[in-house]
Structures are given as structure tokens and as C-alpha cells.
């Protein structure tokens, strides 16, 4: 529109006024499409769920175009009067843009949106989502990781390290563990706790075991970086040094110099004997050996 260069505050004030006045069009979408039907982007709305009048919760079943873009007012007289617009280049604040989407998209998956990092960072819904399409690309696993890592560059790097979850080719995606709309759990995890999130795919480590390994029961992330590591198995350090950060008996606390030629470092290192680091159910397993 011609209002692209309008001062954002003035722009918002006009929209506030229009929204409060509620001067909706006489013929709904037919009014809008009189001019806008020539735009492929506009008409692509009808390929997707937001364009379906036969679904009661779709905007097309309600106030149609004006459900999202606000009351038409005098916009149809030459298009000079602004409408609610979306996207990175829209002069409207993310909070105002998002208020439109959130008025329908409430509920469990977005219940923590307002305290989420993405909300506090003023990320607009339209930064990730598209409405005028048959199928929103971000909902396709193949494009999801790419979108997330365009900002989360550390994680983009991590997934190319020696060990990582299979993110590179979207065999796993960010949303398998995280809810981008925020969650009631730390780091916007989809499950209740860090460990619970891990158990969703690694249920064999859930136990409870007869002999537990205290940091394992407390926090998988004490030893593993789930985004990737230069060490095998996404370990933050490798054995024996990782183990020696917590164990310093005459047996476990000695310096080990010959990396590949010592049974304390070669093969599985400390785990050559203490192979049950995630917990043991063996009656003789207190040293996590069996």
C-alpha cells in the first residue's frame, strides 16, 4: 500500500480508530476482491484453510477478509487508507499483528505465548507462518529446521558437529522437543522437564533403576548437549575426563597419559567396566558395572 512509509505511530493510530469505528464493507470479500483478485498471492488464500467458508472457525466463515485485515472503512476509495497488514515490512508492531492471529489461535499449544521468548523478542506470527498458501511451509518438517536456524545460528552450527540428533535432514526437527510458541516448561520444551523430554524417545533410560547415577536421574543435560558436540554421543566432555570431573578416588582419580594404549582410555574408557552409567538393575550393580 501507499502507507508503507507512514510513521508507525500514526499508522497504528489510524488503524486503532478504524478498528474502533467498525465500518465494515457492504459486501465482504466481494468488495475486497473487486480490486485484489488480480493478485495471485491474495487468491492463494482460497487454496488453504483460511479461505474456506464451509469451516465454521475459518475467517472466511465470519468477517472474511476483514476478520484479519480489519474493517474496510474508506480504504476502497483509492486504497489510501491503511489496513491491518502483516509481515516483516509492515509498519505495525508485532504485538498488534499477533493480536489478530491469537484471537482464534488460543489454547494449550499457545497458552504460554505471552511469556515466551519469541513474544518478548517481538517475533510476529507472520515471521514464520504464511496464511495465503495451500499449506503453510513451516508446518512441513523439511522447511522447519531451516526457518528456526535462520535466527538460532548456534544450533545450526551444533547440528553439524561430530555427534548430534538427526536434524540436518529433518529426520528430527526442533519442534519434536521445543514448542516455538512457548511452553510451561524450561527452554519451551514440549514435555514437562528436560529428562521427560529425553524419555519420549529414550524410555529405556527412565527406570527407576535399582542403582541410579545421581546426575543422570537429575538432568540428562549435565553430561549431554542435545544440540550436538564435537564428542561422540553428544557428551559435553568424553571419558575419562568427564567422569573424572566427579570421581576422584585412588582408582578413578589418577592421571592417564597413554590415550589409545591404556584400558582406562581405549575402547569405551571408564565405560569398559562401568558400562551402566544410566543406571543398573543388577543386584551387584552399585558400581554401575553390570
Amino acid at each position: 500500500g501507499s502507507w508503507d512509509d507512514m510513521d508507525p505511530q500514526e499508522f497504528e493510530a489510524v488503524l486503532d480508530k478504524k478498528f474502533a469505528e467498525g465500518n465494515y464493507s457492504k459486501q465482504g470479500a466481494d468488495n475486497c476482491l473487486m480490486c485484489h483478485r488480480r493478485s495471485e498471492k491474495v487468491m492463494a488464500l482460497f487454496d488453504g484453510v483460511h479461505g474456506r467458508a464451509d469451516q465454521s472457525k475459518s475467517p472466511m466463515a465470519g468477517l472474511q477478509c476483514e476478520a484479519c485485515h480489519g474493517p474496510m472503512g474508506t480504504h476502497n476509495r483509492g486504497g489510501k487508507e491503511p489496513m491491518i497488514t502483516f509481515g516483516e515490512n509492515a509498519p505495525l508492531s508485532a504485538e498488534k499483528q499477533n493480536s489478530v492471529c491469537l484471537s482464534c489461535h488460543q489454547g494449550e499449544e499457545r497458552m504460554a505465548w505471552h511469556s515466551s521468548v519469541h513474544n518478548l523478542e517481538e517475533v510476529a506470527c507472520s515471521s514464520c507462518h504464511q496464511v495465503h498458501v495451500a499449506q503453510d511451509p513451516i508446518l512441513d518438517r523439511k522447511t522447519e529446521v531451516e526457518t528456526c536456524t535462520s535466527c538460532h545460528t548456534r544450533q545450526k552450527a551444533d547440528m553439524n558437529k561430530r555427534s548430534s540428533h538427526p536434524m540436518k535432514w529433518a529426520d528430527m526437527t526442533c519442534s519434536d522437543c521445543h514448542n516455538p510458541h512457548g511452553s510451561m516448561s524450561e527452554a519451551a520444551l514440549t514435555s514437562t522437564t528436560v529428562n521427560n523430554t529425553c524419555y519420549e524417545c529414550h524410555a529405556e533410560k527412565r527406570g527407576p533403576f535399582l542403582y541410579e547415577h545421581a546426575p543422570v536421574a537429575e538432568d540428562c543435560a549435565a553430561c549431554h548437549n542435545p544440540h550436538g558436540s564435537v564428542n561422540d554421543a553428544m557428551l559435553t566432555q568424553r571419558a575419562p575426563q568427564l567422569c573424572q570431573s566427579c570421581h576422584a578416588s585412588p582408582h578413578s582419580g589418577s592421571p592417564i597419559f597413554n590415550s589409545g594404549e591404556d584400558r582406562m582410555t581405549a575402547g569405551k574408557s571408564c565405560l569398559n567396566c562401568h558400562s551402566q552409567v544410566h543406571g543398573s538393575n543388577h543386584p551387584n550393580g552399585s558400581a554401575l558395572q553390570r
Partner: protein, 641 residues
């Protein structure tokens, strides 16, 4: 707030809204594609790069078929690489907000090695000694399938879903005796997950309740048998867990409240091996999690947030002691079962203030209290302060500068507790130890022209374990990332990215029981990656799109142990070059063909990987890292409906 609930509908008259110009798509839409190709490799580790596909032919089905009926009901069949190692399928039917049903299926294969050598070969839960080395795979296959239903009305929804995962394959484990023997251990398990719930949603509130049940069944015996020892290694016990989740949210103007309470139980009552001093074990852990969040836009400039999180793990397992007292062969200690309880309370407050248009200052304070039983330290407390300035007012530049400081301390560190009497009294376990952490991050985005953006992020973090004389004493983590995106012409897109990261940690140990530090280990991890790619859509009258990506990644970890003399460890690195080229040609509006070529050059080295009998007292699986060139070619045809 432009939400529908706030809309002024007094003047709306929709009786003449006919939507004559609307063009809803009924019937079929989407596409169907089939592809075939081949993987050429002499190391199946490449399957991790090539969608789970090993050396040989590959066929795939890609379908994205949707059907919309005028009644508002719709159905879809989506498949992604179905038929390959990592493929998926999803079939759904229903009407949004009324009733929906979905069936889903996916597979995932993870390769570690295809050349593990062991004379022991698993037959069920018994490892049979074949007398000579047998080449075996270390590979896990997951097959997941499930269904989901939901039924709902204007304000309510109920749902139920089920998912089963069969996990089969092998993993590397080890059996300790007089010598240690690494083995290729079998994996055969089934995990079921059930979830059912109900939700109620109003204009400014939400509430929901759900029940989640998970059952892990290990299809193997209770223990692995090796060399006639039926108790060589306990297998992972079958277990169950459930959670009851109650949550709700409420918005009052621009203040938003959300809360959740989760009560759960994890149980495990597999048969206890009839050996040693323990006659029976009933594992039971109760969990309680409660979380509250409030966020309020107090004014247009100021937003406040606060949260409280409580997480409690209460181990209520019962142990039935047998007649014999068992003594650990190595330490000489009497075996003892410890039931670990943990309680965490986290409090956070934050504020975000817009100083002026395009200038925002954020800050916050977090407090995390943890209480533990049966460990060296009963309580730890961590205080964190952070602040960030974000500047977006400049024409072509965005800046964000963040800094944080946190300090963890706690109750007396009792190094001589029963749990650690065999450890040096000067040891401070890193997850319990006093720690000071300083973090900074700088982000810059520069858009010199509309079509070009350049991003830079630099980070520095330092952990200081000031009270730790033995154990981890210091860690630094710093690096940078760069990214560039350029839409050079209408047809040509270019991107490049890269970065480096260094993680340096220092630890100290002592050869003298309770003596001061007399040996030191320094570990330097380094990671570098760089990639570039393009897509060009301007060939053969715009019918041909070509593109390509190249990625280089190098992980290195160097360890040096010093005691008077400094001895570096042998090589530990992984290097890869990945290339992907594609061409997509549209024969007509409906028909297109695509050619993909992927290449991976992968090499890694690990000093721990040694010959089967190279080290006295240790039998390894004898693999020697990876060093290969692998190729994959795929040709696919797509037909648009």
C-alpha cells in the same frame, strides 16, 4: 488488540455477503511423486547423511494429496520419502473443529558402525562365542506408528492418541570381569504412548486436562548371558510412567496468566536377578511439577514478566534385602542402594522497556534453588542477573548486546559423606560445585541493500569453579557465527554461512588420597563450519531451476594431561565435506522431473578405537573410524493434481 472479541460489530450487516468472487478449491489438489536412485558407498555410516539408505538401490514415494469436500470435510495423504530408510506417511480425514482422525507412520535408522568385530554374536539375550571374529553392525532402527482422534465443538475439544515405537538393532556395551570385553549387544524393545484429554477455550481463557501413559517393554531377557554367566549384564528393565496434566490460562486486558500442575509416577517392577544381596526391588518415583507465568504490558513501553517453577522427584522405591551381604569387588564397599530425591524451585522476574522508538532494554533476575538427598551437597542456589540492549532504529543496522552474570553456591559441601568417602575430600562435583558464570553475546544484522542481509553473532562465556581444587576448575566457551543472504536477481539466490567455536576446560586431580592437585588436564574443543549455496531459476525459459549447497564441518577435541610433563592425547576429530546439487525441470504445468546428486566425504579419528586385542585386559570391537567418499543419485518425477 485487534482480536475478534474486541471488534465493533454494531454496524456489520453480512446478509449481502455472498462471496461470489471467492474461489474455494474443492476436490483434489497437491502432487504425487515417485523417485528412484542409488547410493554408492563402502561405509554404511553414510546412511546417516543419505536418509537412512545403505549402499544399493533406493525407491521413494512422495505424495501430498488433499481432498476438500464442499461440506467442509477434507482428507489428505502425505508421504515423505516413503520406502527409504527414513520415510514417513500420514493419512488424515475430518473437518476442522468438528472431528478428525489421523494415522501416522515413520521409520528412522541410525548407523554407528558396519565393521564392529567381536567373537560374540547375540542370539536373543545370549551372546554366543563363535570362536572367531565376526563383522557386525552397530545400528538402530526405529519404526513408529500411531493414530490420533479429536472431536470438538465451538468451545470444547476432546482428543486421544496412541503411538507405538519398535526399536531394534544393536548397540555397543561392555562386560566387566577380570578383563573388560566390549560387545555388540542386542536391542529389541517396544514403547507405547497413550494420551487423552479435554480442552475448553473461551475468548480470554483456556483450561485443559490430559492423561499421558507411557510403557517401555524390553523384549529381551532380564540380563545378558556371556560365557555361561547368566548375570553378565542387566538389561534395561521394562518400565511404565504416567502423568496427569491440568493447565489453564487467563487474559485480563494486557495481562496474561498461565498455570500448569503435573502429577506423575514412574514405576519399574521387573524381575530382580536372583544373585547378590538384594531379593527384590519395586521402583517407584513420584513427580510433581507446577508452573506459573504472568506477563503484562503495563504500558506501551514497559512489559513485565514473572514465573515460578516447581519440580519435585520423590523416589519411593522399596528394596527387599536378601540374606547375603554383598561386597563390591573393586572398592571393598558394602553395596548400598541410594534413593535420590530432588526438589527444584525457580523464580524469575523480567522487564522489557522501550527507551525510545527502536531502543529497547531488557533485564531480569533468576533464582534457582535445588535440594537433593544422598548427595555431597544438600542445597545449591543460583542467582542470575542479565541485561540486554537492542537497537533497531538505525536504517540498515540492528544491534543486540546481552550480558549475564550468575553465581551458584549452596549449603556445606560435605565431601566426606557416605556417598563419596572413597573420593578426594577436595573434589567438587561440577554440577554441585560453587560456580561463577559470565556470559556476553553481540548480534549485528546489516542490510546494506534490500536484497542483502549479513548477520554476525559473537559469544563469550566463562565458568569459574573457584572452590574446586579437584575436579572441573574452569571452562570457557566462545565463538562466532556469520551468515549472508543475497537475492542477487529475480532468479538468483545466494547464501553463505560459517562460524567457529572453542570450548576450553581445565580440570585438576591428585594421585594422593585427599592430597592437593598434582596433575592437570586441559581439553580444547574446536569446531569450524562453513557453507554456501545458490539457487537459479532462470534457465530454459524459466522451466529449469538449479541449485547447490556445500558444507564443510570439522570437529576437533585435543586433550593434554600434565604431571610435570605434558602428554597430549592422540587424534580425535571428525571432518566432512557435503555437496548437494539439484535440477528441477518443469515439462508442463503438471509434470516435472528432478535430479539430485549428493556427495559426502567423511573422515574421523578416535584414539580410543584400537584393535580387538591391542590393549592388555581389554577386548574392543576393533573398528578404526571412518574414511570414505559416498554418493547418492536420485531421479524423481512429480505430477501435480
Amino acid at each position: 488488540n485487534y482480536g475478534l472479541a474486541n471488534a465493533n460489530l454494531e454496524k456489520v450487516d453480512t446478509t449481502k455477503w455472498e462471496c461470489k468472487r471467492c474461489e474455494p478449491v474443492n476436490g483434489y489438489q497437491g502432487s504425487v511423486g515417485v523417485g528412484g536412485g542409488a547410493v554408492i558407498t563402502n561405509d554404511n555410516h553414510a546412511a546417516n547423511r543419505f536418509g537412512g539408505n545403505e549402499d544399493g538401490g533406493v525407491g521413494e514415494l512422495n505424495a501430498d494429496v488433499r481432498y476438500n469436500a464442499e461440506s467442509g470435510y477434507n482428507a489428505s495423504i502425505l508421504t515423505d520419502r516413503l520406502g527409504t530408510g527414513n520415510g514417513s506417511a500420514n493419512v488424515s480425514v475430518g473437518k476442522a473443529g468438528v472431528a478428525n482422525a489421523e494415522f501416522n507412520y515413520r521409520t528412522l535408522t541410525t548407523w554407528q558402525e558396519d565393521n564392529a568385530f567381536s567373537q560374540y554374536v547375540a542370539n536373543g539375550s545370549e551372546l554366543v562365542n563363535t570362536g572367531s571374529l565376526v563383522q557386525q553392525d552397530l545400528k538402530l532402527e526405529r519404526e513408529r506408528y500411531g493414530f490420533a482422534f479429536d472431536v470438538g465443538g465451538e468451545l470444547w475439544e476432546t482428543y486421544a492418541n496412541f503411538q507405538r515405537e519398535d526399536k531394534t538393532g544393536t548397540k555397543s556395551r561392555s562386560v566387566a570381569g577380570l578383563s573388560a570385553t566390549n560387545i555388540v549387544a542386542p536391542v529389541d524393545s517396544t514403547t507405547d504412548r497413550w494420551e487423552a484429554g479435554a480442552k475448553l477455550t473461551g475468548q480470554n481463557w483456556f483450561t485443559g486436562v490430559s492423561y499421558i501413559y507411557s510403557q517401555y517393554d524390553n523384549n529381551l531377557a532380564t540380563s545378558l548371558t556371556l560365557d555361561n554367566n547368566a548375570y553378565a549384564l542387566a538389561n534395561d528393565p521394562s518400565n511404565e510412567a504416567y502423568q496427569v496434566v491440568l493447565n489453564g490460562a487467563y487474559s485480563l486486558n494486557r495481562t496474561h496468566f498461565a498455570g500448569r500442575v503435573v502429577s506423575g509416577k514412574m514405576t519399574q517392577d521387573d524381575d530382580t536377578l536372583k544373585i547378590g544381596g538384594i531379593a527384590g526391588f519395586d521402583g517407584e518415583v513420584r513427580t510433581l511439577d507446577a508452573n506459573f507465568r504472568v506477563a503484562s504490558s503495563v504500558t506501551n513501553r514497559l512489559r513485565l514478566t514473572a514465573s515460578y517453577d516447581h519440580s519435585d522427584r520423590d523416589n519411593r522405591s522399596t528394596v527387599l534385602q536378601g540374606d547375603a551381604i554383598t561386597v563390591d569387588g573393586l572398592s571393598g564397599d558394602v553395596e548400598g542402594v541410594k534413593l535420590y530425591d530432588t526438589t527444584r524451585n525457580t523464580y524469575k522476574v523480567g522487564a522489557s522497556y522501550r527507551i525510545a522508538s527502536g531502543y529497547r532494554l531488557d533485564g531480569g533476575y533468576d533464582r534457582k534453588d535445588v535440594e537433593r538427598t544422598e548427595q555431597d551437597r544438600e542445597k545449591t542456589n543460583e542467582d542470575t542477573l542479565w541485561a540486554r540492549l537492542r537497537v533497531t532504529s538505525l536504517d540498515n543496522w540492528d544491534f543486540g548486546l546481552k550480558a549475564g552474570y550468575s553465581n551458584r553456591d549452596g549449603s556445606k559441601y560435605d565431601a566426606n559423606r557416605g556417598t563419596s568417602e572413597e573420593d578426594n575430600a577436595l573434589l567438587r562435583r561440577y554440577y554441585l560445585a560453587d560456580r561463577e558464570r559470565v556470559e556476553t553475546e553481540l548480534r549485528i544484522t546489516h542490510t546494506p541493500i534490500d536484497t542483502l542481509s549479513i548477520d554476525f553473532t559473537g559469544r563469550y562465556a566463562e565458568d569459574d569453579y573457584s572452590e574446586s581444587e579437584i575436579g572441573l576448575t574452569e571452562a570457557k566457551d566462545y565463538g562466532y557465527d556469520l551468515g549472508l543472504n543475497w537475492a542477487a536477481t529475480e532468479h538468483l539466490n545466494l547464501h553463505a554461512f560459517g562460524g567457529q567455536q572453542w570450548i576450553e576446560s581445565a580440570q585438576a586431580g591428585s594421585t594422593v588420597m585427599n592430597g592437593t592437585a598434582n596433575w592437570f588436564a586441559d581439553v580444547e574443543d574446536e569446531f569450524i563450519h562453513a557453507g554456501l549455496g545458490f539457487s537459479y531459476a532462470g534457465l530454459m525459459a524459466d522451466k529449469l531451476v538449479i541449485g547447490g549447497d556445500y558444507l564443510y564441518a570439522d570437529s576437533t577435541s585435543d586433550t593434554v594431561v600434565s604431571q610435570g610433563i605434558s602428554v597430549p592425547y592422540d587424534d580425535y576429530y571428525a571432518t566432512s565435506h557435503s555437496i548437494n546439487f539439484y535440477g528441477d525441470y518443469a515439462f508442463s504445468e503438471k509434470m516435472s522431473a528432478r535430479l539430485d546428486y549428493m556427495y559426502e566425504r567423511y573422515q574421523d579419528s578416535d584414539y580410543a578405537e584400537v584393535g580387538v586385542s591391542a590393549v592388555p585386559g581389554l577386548t574392543t570391537l576393533g573398528y578404526w573410524g571412518h574414511n570414505y567418499n559416498a554418493h547418492m543419485v536420485m531421479v524423481s518425477f512429480k505430477y501435480a493434481l
